[in-house]
């Protein structure tokens, strides 16, 4: 297999990428506007359900149960999907999935395919791989179309183009659809996309999709969407190929009664999104004649091993945790430099890569816990973040570079100093003398040198006081009086 068009996992880390994106004020404005709007809508429709917490408990329970018996439910899904006329394929990694999908498309001698937005296809770099084999994949979701025609990357997995405003979208459509007269009203832009894609729906014979849920009990597949592009791809072509992560299976049809309440309310702030499609296998006279499901592992199965980590796979990709995250709010999705952005991306990406990529992502969080509170399947993201930070450190300590690395030595030195009162006091005195070089006139440290500079890039640091608390306390005890800070003392005594 040739390399995907562009790898989504660059060698840069989160702070480097974020710094560049923070400078783009238009992007930050667009991101903030979009996330504010969705969040307000989400809060409104969640508040009107008195049983919201019970739905979260149920959703969490269903997803956790499915994962605890994943082997069983996958086999059950396979059996029932096959019985209904579908064909199930298994792919250990991205290369295998790409090979299977390419093979199916080539068997039908198709040169073009239509696609429904799918994160898994981003994950395996499908479009780039198809292109390398002379097959053009047309994204049909409006936002994905904007991203694709703009030669851009998605920045949010429910609204992938939220970083673009209407003028930017118009410029892309004018150029790529050859419509120089196109207006910039959202209605104009939608109408242009409708015409552009309608011709493709009616002509192209192979479609590729993801799926939101697989139902073990009857082999059903469920896709949730807004625009109807999904329905077009699911019903009009002759062949449908759905690429789905192995974690997406749920035990029974009726479990959808929970997840189809919590997903739309969390994702777009709607009581129900405009369209949900549920079907099994193939149906004479209705929809594709051939239906394939490609079950993708690609690093998922090892995540099941540890309880803290396993909950990551309960995710139903609603993106509520992105919208509520103060870090995502500031940087947008691209800073994560991974297919999955935001809090869920920060825990999923490094795990999908056995902690070899995205290692700075578990630190891209302030651990404020907002993501946990909104998560419709109750993934305790801060808990997973801390678990993963532990792993990063553990891994680092195993390597020589890590052992000799600044942070490791720094942390060990800190531990050494904090262990003993004498050492701490000595260090404080050294600090008071040493800081003279960096403290500015206002009493703040605006720039720390070298490895410590990261701390002061975005904040000023209060200089160490002339007298440490420990010194002040010792002096107070020995003199028996109250030498300084009496105002504070008095308040405390009130």
């Amino acid at each position: 297999m040739s390399a995907p068009e562009h790898s989504h996992f660059s060698s840069r880390n989160f702070p480097e990428a974020a710094k560049e994106l923070l400078a783009d004020s238009q992007l930050r404005k667009n991101v903030r506007h979009a996330t504010d709007v969705i969040q307000a809508k989400r809060n409104r429709v969640v508040a009107e359900l008195p049983d919201w917490e019970a739905l979260r408990d149920a959703g969490s329970g269903i997803r956790a149960h499915a994962l605890a018996h994943l082997d069983h439910y996958l086999a059950e899904f396979e059996q029932n999907c096959t019985r209904a006329g579908g064909q199930v394929h298994w792919a250990r990694d991205a290369a295998e999935a790409n090979r299977i999908i390419l093979g199916l498309i080539q068997r039908h001698e198709a040169k073009e395919v239509i696609k429904i937005k799918t994160m898994t296809s981003e994950e395996i770099g499908l479009n780039g791989n198809l292109e390398a084999h002379g097959i053009r994949a047309h994204e049909t979701d409006l936002a994905e179309l904007i991203v694709q025609l703009g030669h851009d990357k998605p920045s949010h997995f429910v609204v992938p183009a939220l970083h673009k405003n209407r003028q930017q979208v118009r410029a892309i459509f004018q150029r790529e659809m050859h419509l120089p007269e196109l207006g910039d009203k959202p209605e104009d832009l939608c109408a242009a996309a409708r015409t552009y894609l309608r011709e493709k729906y009616l002509r192209i014979k192979v479609a590729v999709s993801g799926a939101n849920f697989l139902v073990a009990e009857n082999g059903a597949v469920c896709i949730v969407e807004s625009e109807g592009n999904g329905r077009m791809c699911l019903t009009l072509p002759d062949v449908l190929i759905s690429l789905v992560g192995i974690e997406k299976v749920i035990p029974r049809f009726r479990d959808l009664e929970v997840l189809l309440q919590t997903l739309p309310r969390s994702a777009t702030g709607e009581r129900m999104n405009p369209y949900n499609s549920i079907w099994t296998g193939v149906h004479a006279g209705d929809g594709p004649k051939e239906f394939h499901v490609v079950l993708l592992d690609n690093g998922r199965s090892p995540i099941l091993a540890e309880a803290e980590a396993r909950q990551t796979l309960k995710c139903i990709r609603c993106a509520a945790c992105l919208n509520v995250c103060p870090v995502y709010h500031q940087t947008g999705g691209h800073a994560y430099e991974s297919v999955y952005a935001g809090p869920i991306g920060a825990i999923l990406t490094p795990q999908l890569h056995s902690m070899e990529e995205g290692r700075s992502l578990p630190y891209a969080s302030s651990l404020c816990g907002a993501c946990y509170e909104v998560c419709p399947v109750k993934i305790n993201i801060p808990e997973v973040l801390i678990h993963l930070r532990g792993k990063v450190v553990e891994q680092d300590q195993k390597t020589l570079g890590g052992k000799l690395g600044f942070w490791n030595i720094g942390m060990q030195a800190a531990a050494f100093v904090f262990e003993s009162a004498n050492r701490l006091s000595m260090a404080q005195h050294l600090g008071q003398m040493g800081q003279k070089v960096v403290v500015s006139k206002n009493g703040f440290i605006e720039r720390l040198p070298l490895m410590l500079s990261g701390w002061t890039q975005t904040r000023d640091l209060k200089a160490l006081p002339a007298q440490s608390f420990r010194d002040w306390w010792a002096q107070r005890e020995s003199s028996g009086s109250r030498p300084t800070n009496t105002a504070k003392e008095g308040r405390r005594g009130e």
């Binding site: 409006l142 729906y201 625009e227 189809l260 009581r271 079950l295 099941l304």
Partner: protein
């Protein structure tokens, strides 16, 4: 493909070893665990009759769908009125749509005779439904009586859906209870006309599905 069956075995055994699952499944224990999952959410209706239909109507209007209410004997008249108001003539229907729903003076075409290309040339679709959810303003269509294949309610730009009062439930769980017996059929949940909020979070009607949806509620 040999490598695929190899992949299947490898994935399942990787899952089993990560879960530390025993070689033999204990079906009884899994079943009991499933039955014990928390289900404290609302599953039964609290509204009935007029209040239920009023909620459903309210939700549909919020989605910008049209709603009309008629007694059973007047379905055809109401269909004529709604289509006439929009100036539509050529309408796709399911092969088994009840003849008494169809007024004279229009051209109703049976969907089975049409490919997607020809459906695209029709002006609208008239269907029944399987069940409707008041709380979310949703109509659910299956490939069953009076509803036809999925493309019928998708390709033409206008959809008129006939909903009987007895088909309206209040909650999503009640809807799933009703669908359980026919869960294998192609099923579509429709909540308002097709829409997107992809550009600056403004809801815009009708991207690829029908831009206009009318519901005819029959008592």
């Amino acid at each position: 493909m040999a490598s695929e069956s190899e992949a299947r075995g490898a994935i399942l055994s990787s899952i089993r070893s990560a879960l530390r699952a025993p070689a033999e499944h204990d079906d009884g224990a899994r079943q009991a665990e499933y039955e014990g999952l928390p289900r404290g959410y609302k599953r039964a209706a609290t509204l009935q009759g007029e209040a239920l239909l009023a909620l459903f109507t309210h939700r549909l209007i919020e989605y910008d769908a049209g709603v009309a209410r008629v007694p059973r004997a007047q379905i055809a008249d109401a269909v004529a009125r709604l289509l006439g108001k929009r100036g539509l003539k050529r309408i796709a229907i399911a092969d088994d749509l009840p003849a008494e729903w169809l007024p004279c003076g229009f051209q109703f075409e049976k969907a089975s005779a049409f490919g997607a290309q020809q459906l695209d040339e029709l002006e609208g679709a008239l269907t029944g439904c399987a069940v409707a959810i008041a709380e979310t303003g949703t109509i659910v269509l299956q490939n069953a009586a009076a509803q036809g294949p999925r493309s019928l309610s998708l390709v033409p730009d206008y959809h008129l859906c006939v909903v009987f009062a007895a088909q309206v439930v209040e909650t999503v769980p009640e809807c799933f209870a009703r669908l359980d017996a026919t869960a294998a059929l192609p099923t579509t949940f429709i909540s308002g006309p097709s829409a997107t909020a992809d550009i600056e979070m403004t809801r815009i009607k009708g991207v690829h599905g029908p831009r206009f949806l009318d519901v005819l509620m029959v008592e």
